[in-house]
């Protein structure tokens, strides 16, 4: 969720039950503003909270002008001091997916795994966050637009989805470089608008049914929750510009999803 509209966003995302306490909210507001100034980001997003056994990690992301460029990730344990997480390599990502278990809350904690070397918890947090972000960060159709020169910008004329559009999974895109788009046939691509439909939509996500889409507050808010990564909540108030997503959870994938549907 955007750091500028943090309070409203937290209100809207509260349907899943997890939010932030007032002291955290206050410290987030001030510290994210400072982060934006210090690191010169165009937008700072509060990504969410990973629950650990001893302490929780608060994660924020910084975006530059080009919205689809790789985002910088920062973490904090107390919402006041933020540190950049080191970028992860492919093998580290593979390693961390093998080491399972809950997070402790101490970035210097070392996980032991018989085959591979020890994995630092700080790296593991980062890798999990990258994985989750790639999988389930979403954005409504029309919120970003792509210029012919390449960079994607925030669409200032985005007025929100209509109620009927908001209930369809095809109106939401993954907030990342498209993967499936190239595999579409020319016939399908003919209907797409290249300036708006340049990301993968949620419709073809595997496993089918891994998104739960609900209206809350009497049709004034549409909430999407991921069933594959429980804890990811996306909210959007139809007909308004308010949208955002937040992840509050343990950072573990729900591998039992096919049994549960």
């Amino acid at each position: 969720m955007d750091a500028d509209s943090l309070l409203l966003s937290l209100e809207l995302a509260s349907g899943s039950g997890q939010g932030l306490s007032p002291d955290r909210r206050a410290s987030l507001l001030t510290s994210l503003m400072l982060v934006k100034r210090d690191y010169r980001y165009d937008r700072v997003l509060f990504w969410g909270r990973i629950l650990g056994l001893v302490a929780d990690y608060y994660i924020a992301q910084g975006l530059s002008e080009d919205q689809l460029a790789p985002r910088k990730t920062l973490y904090s344990l107390n919402c006041t001091e933020w540190s950049l997480l080191p970028p992860a390599t492919e093998e580290m990502v593979a390693q961390s997916s093998v080491v399972k278990g809950r997070f402790m809350g101490d970035p210097s904690y070392e996980y032991e795994h018989t085959e591979l070397q020890k994995v630092n918890e700080g790296e593991k947090v980062f890798e999990e966050e990258i994985v989750i972000d790639k999988a389930v960060a979403i954005i409504p159709r029309g919120a970003l637009f792509k210029t012919p020169f390449g960079p994607t910008h925030v669409n200032r004329t985005f007025e929100g989805l209509s109620l009927s559009e908001a209930k369809k999974l095809s109106s939401y895109f993954h907030f990342r470089e498209p993967v499936e788009l190239k595999n579409k046939t020319l016939l399908e691509k003919a209907d797409l608008d290249p300036s708006l439909d340049f990301m993968d939509s949620l419709e073809h996500d595997i496993p089918k049914g891994s998104w739960s889409i609900q209206m809350e507050r009497g049709n004034a808010l549409v909430v999407l929750r991921s069933l594959l990564w429980p804890g990811l909540t996306f909210y959007h108030a139809p007909r308004t510009k308010n949208y955002g997503y937040v992840y509050v959870g343990t950072g573990e994938k729900n591998m039992d999803l096919p049994f549960m549907l």
Partner: protein
């Protein structure tokens, strides 16, 4: 456009009902007295300090919806239990205790329906038996007897201590959930399914769940309540009973009352040690009940705690009594999940410990929280309704293939004798026959019977 405004109209109705108090001062005075509706706004405030809970206007709407529930049903105490998320809709759950004697009417209706079903089945069986008698070959009777059904607990005791009402959104009517049976709890432990939000959805699973989503929801609510309802040590105490201690030794006490002398435990101590928190709901035994019942007993629903009379004619095994931890055990006794502590404690605000609230979060049932501050405490659950397990879910394997028929000599196939064996046998028999004939001629005994092969 209709759906947008439909919910808003319904919720407006909630507000106008409560606003009827402005009509006269007399009504205000009546309402100011004791009401079973809990102070949800206060609870929501404390949970917000912990970073848990729904937004404040949502909490207010829930408060109004519970007020509506209290007016419609004869309720003695009521509490907001929590919210269970579903795929299409979510459930708001209220935990309720009826006034004495009020709920028996509904129970009878439910029992009549089940008895009607049994009568129908009996008819079917009789017809089947008649057909069998007419047939020439009597089909072998099955020796399989279904395992004895464990009776469900009485209302107001054990897992059925409270009644639960659910609704999907504040403003929609509340639906009452049926009581939970031990079979449902046992099966709910074996499956893991998301809730869809519609109570009459069938639960398709293996092992087959005896009921629909309403029953599965009730079973999960029972499990969550038994595992995660906690209170600070000393808030509840056992009521004084006269001399029942020896008999109750096996089952343990099942009732508690508020301790009027409770002084509150300092927040720092609550956060430091798990021994300062206790469970105040009974643990559910593997059988599916809170108090153990021997399924082989012929008598109905009597607790034989120390004695195990084995009159089982057909049940060869001795059933051991199942024992669970007694009521009011501290959380420090909870079992670890694979080196993972089952509970995590936090201070709500580390910057001002004097005013903060102690928060306890369950790692076994993610979404279960409890707070305590001074003399107040409360529990809440907001989540998907599933238990956490570090290993993946393993569905139960199907049962081994049944034996079709007992193998005995009349059914066993035997290989036919080969030609050489037959000839050898014939030769041996002729030899024996020749020997006996000689003996007969020698002894001059005549027997009418000749053995021919």
């Amino acid at each position: 456009m209709q759906p947008t405004y439909k919910m808003a109209e319904k919720q407006k109705a909630l507000f106008t009902r409560s606003g009827g108090g402005t009509e006269g001062e007399q009504e205000m005075e009546e309402e100011v007295g004791e009401t079973p509706v809990p102070n949800i706004m206060e609870t929501a405030f404390y949970f917000e300090q912990a970073g848990v809970g729904l937004s404040s206007d949502e909490s207010f709407r829930i408060f109004l919806a519970m007020k509506q529930l209290v007016e419609q049903q004869p309720i003695h105490t009521c509490r907001f239990w929590g919210k269970i998320l579903g795929i299409k809709r979510s459930y708001l759950v209220a935990e309720v205790e009826f006034r004495e004697g009020e709920e028996e009417a509904e129970e009878e209706e439910v029992e009549e329906m089940t008895e009607g079903g049994e009568v129908m089945e009996a008819h079917g069986e009789e017809e089947g038996e008649e057909d069998e008698e007419k047939a020439v070959d009597i089909v072998p009777k099955s020796v399989w007897k279904p395992p004895p059904v464990i009776p469900k607990e009485e209302s107001r005791s054990g897992a059925n201590k409270y009644l639960y009402f659910v609704c999907n959104e504040p403003g929609l009517p509340w639906t009452r959930l049926p009581h939970v049976t031990p079979a449902q709890i046992v099966n709910a432990r074996k499956i893991k399914k998301f809730f869809t939000g519609y109570l009459d959805t069938p639960v398709v699973s293996y092992p087959p769940f005896p009921g629909n989503e309403a029953n599965y929801l009730r079973a999960q609510i029972a499990r969550i309540s038994a595992a995660t309802q906690v209170s600070p040590l000393g808030f509840y105490q056992f009521s004084e009973e006269e001399g029942d201690e020896e008999e109750e030794g096996g089952a343990g006490r099942d009732s508690y009352e508020e301790n009027p002398d409770f002084e509150g435990i300092p927040v720092l101590e609550l956060v430091d040690s798990m021994a300062n928190w206790v469970h105040h709901t009974q643990h559910i035994l593997p059988q599916g009940r809170c108090t153990w019942v021997n399924p082989l007993q012929k008598t109905e629903e009597e607790e034989d705690l120390g004695e195990e009379e084995e009159k089982a004619d057909e049940g060869p095994e001795e059933v051991e009594q199942e024992v669970g931890p007694p009521l009011l055990t501290p959380l420090s006794e909870d079992a670890e999940i694979m080196h993972l502590a089952p509970w995590t404690t936090r201070l709500s605000c580390s910057l001002c410990p004097q005013y903060s609230v102690a928060v306890v979060r369950s790692n076994l049932w993610p979404g279960a929280y409890a707070y305590a501050s001074g003399k107040k405490f409360e529990n809440i659950y907001i989540g998907w309704g599933h238990k956490y397990s570090p290993e993946s879910f393993n569905p139960a394997l199907p049962a081994p293939i049944q034996q079709e028929y007992p193998s005995g000599p009349e059914i066993m196939e035997m290989s036919d004798p080969t030609v050489e064996e037959e000839q050898a046998l014939k030769a041996a028999q002729e030899q024996a026959l020749g020997a006996t004939e000689e003996e007969e001629e020698g002894e001059e005994e005549e027997e009418g019977e000749e053995t021919d092969d």
